[in-house]
């Protein structure tokens, strides 16, 4: 009961933050408020029993998304021109739609009702069959990687496509130059002169990386998996790039390697699926990967999570580098 009140308080804060984001004329302030918004969403998800989702929101929202928005702001300007033409019309439309949606919510099943339609079909089946067929504690990972592997491969290819799209867009005019060629002034400087962030940051990077690997391979047993781990690993390398400068990060992980990572992760995922077919099962059926079906499921899940993690890391990092390199040309 009191937990619900906590949740409602957090939701109230969320709404206030969202209003402030839309209201604020400085885009820079809006981006910072977006960071707060993401923290609030993660807390909400956690209260609603979605530990995996909260972990994803944390991994994405805490580092990567702020950095991406700032990268875009650096290229476009950070002040919004005030005033919008058809404000009243928009407000009217929005108010009416809100009222309609709220009216519709009265027909929704009671909050947390175990008899709600959503809990009647496949949901309980997944919970019931996971220990028997896959035998890992984290039902979310089981559903993600095994029961609904088709969905996930689709999502991975969407991420892949988006990454390729950004690379195409932002390398449009710079294709003649080699990736690393940047104006000599201040390009490889990073935050060299700020001793405290630099020292502490350098100290933390290995831990972040290690924690990313933990999330990656512990995903069967606790909250975690490829999506979260990819974001965390990407965050550690983005931190390195911020502290030591773009060039150092690109030297450690060159763009060519990143492109291989992007493609390689998705290919690994697909290859596991095809391997299932070659060994006599269906596409993305892992049971045939080992003599014992359950062991086969374990192998399959670990491998495809690895593929997901590799692709997500590659996409997030190459997007970051694409924005950063654009600013320096």
């Amino acid at each position: 009961m009191i937990i619900i009140l906590f949740g409602i308080f957090l939701l109230a804060l969320t709404v206030i933050t969202a209003l402030a984001i839309v209201q604020s004329e400085s885009l820079f302030a809006a981006v910072i408020l977006t960071g707060i918004f993401s923290l609030l969403m993660a807390a909400n998800f956690f209260l609603l029993d979605a530990a995996d989702v909260a972990l994803t929101e944390a991994a994405i929202g805490a580092g990567v998304s702020t950095v991406l928005f700032l990268g875009a702001l650096a290229l476009t300007g950070e002040q919004e021109r005030s005033g919008s033409k058809n404000r009243l019309l928009a407000l009217g439309v929005v108010t009416i739609t809100t009222l309609i949606v709220i009216y519709a919510t009265f027909d929704k099943p009671r909050f947390g009702d175990p008899a709600a339609p959503v809990h009647q079909h496949v949901g309980p089946w997944y919970l019931e069959k996971t220990p028997e067929l896959i035998d890992i504690p984290n039902a979310v990972t089981a559903v993600l990687a095994s029961f609904r592997g088709y969905d996930t491969i689709g999502e991975v290819f969407v991420v892949l496509t988006a990454g390729i799209g950004v690379l195409f867009l932002l390398s449009a005019r710079t294709t003649a130059r080699p990736e690393n060629m940047q104006p000599p002034k201040e390009s490889h400087q990073g935050l060299r002169h700020y001793l405290v962030p630099r020292v502490v940051g350098r100290m933390l990077i290995p831990f972040i990386f290690l924690f990313g690997l933990y999330v990656q391979f512990h995903g069967d047993y606790g909250p975690g998996g490829g999506f979260q781990a990819g974001a965390i690993v990407a965050a550690s390398i983005i931190l390195y790039a911020l502290l030591e400068g773009e060039e150092a990060a690109l030297r450690a992980l060159p763009m060519r390697v990143l492109q291989w990572l992007i493609a390689g992760g998705a290919l690994l995922y697909g290859a596991i699926g095809v391997m299932g077919m070659l060994l006599g099962g269906n596409f993305l059926d892992y049971s045939v990967l080992a003599s014992d079906p359950i062991a086969g499921q374990h192998i399959g899940i670990i491998l495809i999570e690895l593929g997901v993690g590799i692709t997500v890391t590659g996409v997030l990092l190459s997007v970051f580098h694409a924005f950063a390199a654009r600013g320096k040309v």
Binding site: S26, Y194, V196, V200, G201, M203, L204
Partner: protein, 109 residues
Amino acid sequence: MTTVIDILSWVFLTGGGLFVFIGGLGALRMPNLYTRMHAASLTDTMGAVLVLVGIMLQAGLTLATIKLAAILLFLLLTSPTASNALASAAILSGLQPQEGTVRPGGASE
């Protein structure tokens, strides 16, 4: 023995909650950025230490305690760093004042 640990942990938790709240109040009420930073860092250090140690006492010797210790360690490393970076950024841009702060009490150095 468990009662002693319980009482101790409640004391820590209450103290932590109090410090967190006071720091939050300070961050809201202090007159300018640098003093606000001072108040905010109180919640990040004293408040966080007390709360996390309080939970650790409750958890006993488990994996959770190790994780809590790691959280504490990283918080103690990162939050002063963030404050430092923030102050650097503020001073750096203070050279060229940006965003005219009209309201009194918002004057950054």
